[in-house]
Subunit: 212 residues, 2 copies
DNA sequence: GTCTGGTTCGAACGCTCGATCGGTCAACCT
DNA sequence: AGGTTGACCGATCGAGCGTTCGAACCAGAC
C-alpha cells in the first residue's frame, strides 16, 4: 500500500476535486453499481487508466465523495453553531444548514444518502462513524430542545431524530432546486413542520415572519 | 412478445410469488444492479435459465416486485379507509397502514423506495403512475385535515406530503423490526410527530393513551 | 405405450466491467 | 547531458453479467 501517496500539491488536489464532483454526478444519476469508471473517464476527458492515479479503486472513489461531503456539512454546521445559545435556534440552524447544503450539492448528498450501502468493510465503517457523529449531534440538540420547551415525550429521541433526517433526506426524491419553492423557504417549512407539526400549535415558536 | 403468456395457474402464481419474495430480499440486500440473476438462481434452488420461464428480464422482475407490493399497500389502505370519516383518523390510518406494511415487508418496501430509479422507460412510467396515485391520495387527505382543523399554512401541501413520506420511508435506513420499539408504537409516534410536531400542541388530537 | 404441453435445465454467447502493466513525455534537478 | 519523477495513456486480462437455445423431464390424456 501507499504505492502512490497523495502528493497533495494544490493542482493535484484541484483536479481530484473536479473528478470527485463529476463522479458524484454520475453516481447520483445512475447509481454506484450501474455507473462505470469508463463513464467517468469519458465525461472527465481522462483516460481510463489515468484515473487510477487519483484513486486506488472505485470503492475509494465512492468513499472520498461521501466522506469529504459529509465532513463539509458538519464543519459548516459547527461554524454556524458558534454563538448560538437557544436550543430551538440551534435546531433551526441545523435544518437550514442540512437542507441548504443538500440543495446546493444535490449530487453528493444523494450519493451519501443513497449509496451508503454500496460501501464495503472498512469504507463502510468509516462512514458509519461519521454518520453516527452527525446523528448524535442532532439528537443532543433535540434533547436540549425538549428540555427547554414544553415538549412532551411525543416520541423517543432516536425516533424523532430519524424522522427529522427522513424529512430532510427525502428531498432528493422530489425536490428540484430552482423550483417555485426556494431553498430557504423549504428549509423553514421543514423546520416548522418538525417542531410544530402539520396542524401546528397556537403561538409559541421563534420567527414571527410569515407572509407569503 | 407474449411468447409465454402467464398461465395463471395457482401453482404457477404461487411459485412466482416465492421467487419475487426471494428476489426482493436480494435486491434489498445488495441493490438491483449489484444483485445478479445467478444470486436468485442459487438462493431459490432453480437453474439460471429456469428462472426466465417466470419473467422475461431482470427489469420485469424488478417491476413486478415494486408494482405488486405498492398495489397491495394501496388496496389494503382503501379497505381500511372504508367507513372512516374524520380526516385526522384517515391520516392516522394511512400512516399506520404504510408503516405497518413497511415493517412487515421490509425487503419489498426497500426495493420500492430505493430502486425506483433502476426502472427504465415503460417500467418507470408504470410505477410513476402508481406512485403518483398513492401520493395524491395522501395529499388529498392532508387537504381535508387542514380544512377541518385549525391547521394553518405551515407548509404547502406538496411539501408536507413529501415530508410525511420522507419520515415514513426513511424507516428502512434505521429501523429493525423486533427492536424495542414495536411497529404500532412507531407508527403512532410518526403520526403524532407529523400532525403535532416535536414540540407538540397542548391538548387536541385523538388517543389519550400515553404511558410508557 | 405414446403423445402433448407446461416446466426445467446445461451450455454457451456476446458483452462490459474493474483493474493492471509497461511505456511515454514533459519538467525539473544536478 | 543525463537522470529522476510526477502525470498520464493504450492495450489487455480475467471475471462476471443478462440472456438465449435446444434438449430433456414429467404429469395426465388418449
Amino acid at each position: 500500500m501507499a504505492e502512490h501517496a497523495p502528493p497533495a500539491s494544490p493542482e493535484h488536489e484541484e483536479k481530484l476535486e473536479r473528478l470527485l464532483g463529476i463522479a458524484a454526478e454520475i453516481f447520483a444519476e445512475k447509481g454506484y453499481h450501474a455507473a462505470s469508471i469508463r463513464d467517468l473517464s469519458k465525461r472527465a476527458g481522462v483516460s481510463l487508466s489515468g484515473l487510477y492515479y487519483y484513486f486506488h479503486s472505485k470503492q475509494e472513489l465512492l468513499l472520498m465523495i461521501q466522506e469529504r461531503s459529509l465532513r463539509k456539512v458538519m464543519d459548516e454546521l459547527s461554524r454556524k453553531l458558534e454563538g448560538v445559545d437557544r436550543p430551538e435556534e440551534k435546531l433551526r440552524t441545523l435544518v437550514h444548514n442540512h437542507v441548504g447544503f443538500f440543495a446546493e450539492n444535490m449530487a453528493a448528498m444523494r450519493v451519501i444518502t443513497h449509496e451508503y450501502d454500496a460501501l464495503e468493510g472498512e469504507c463502510r465503517a468509516r462512514m458509519r462513524q461519521l454518520r453516527r457523529e452527525y446523528s448524535n449531534l442532532c439528537q443532543e440538540i433535540l434533547r436540549e430542545v425538549r428540555r427547554f420547551t414544553s415538549a412532551g415525550d411525543v416520541a423517543p429521541l432516536n425516533v424523532a431524530t430519524s424522522a427529522l433526517f427522513g424529512m430532510m433526506n427525502w428531498i432528493y426524491a422530489w425536490y428540484t432546486p430552482g423550483s417555485n419553492v426556494p431553498v430557504e423557504r423549504l428549509a423553514e417549512h421543514l423546520y416548522r413542520l418538525f417542531t410544530g407539526g402539520f396542524i401546528g400549535h397556537p403561538s409559541t415558536s421563534s420567527a414571527g415572519r410569515k407572509a407569503g
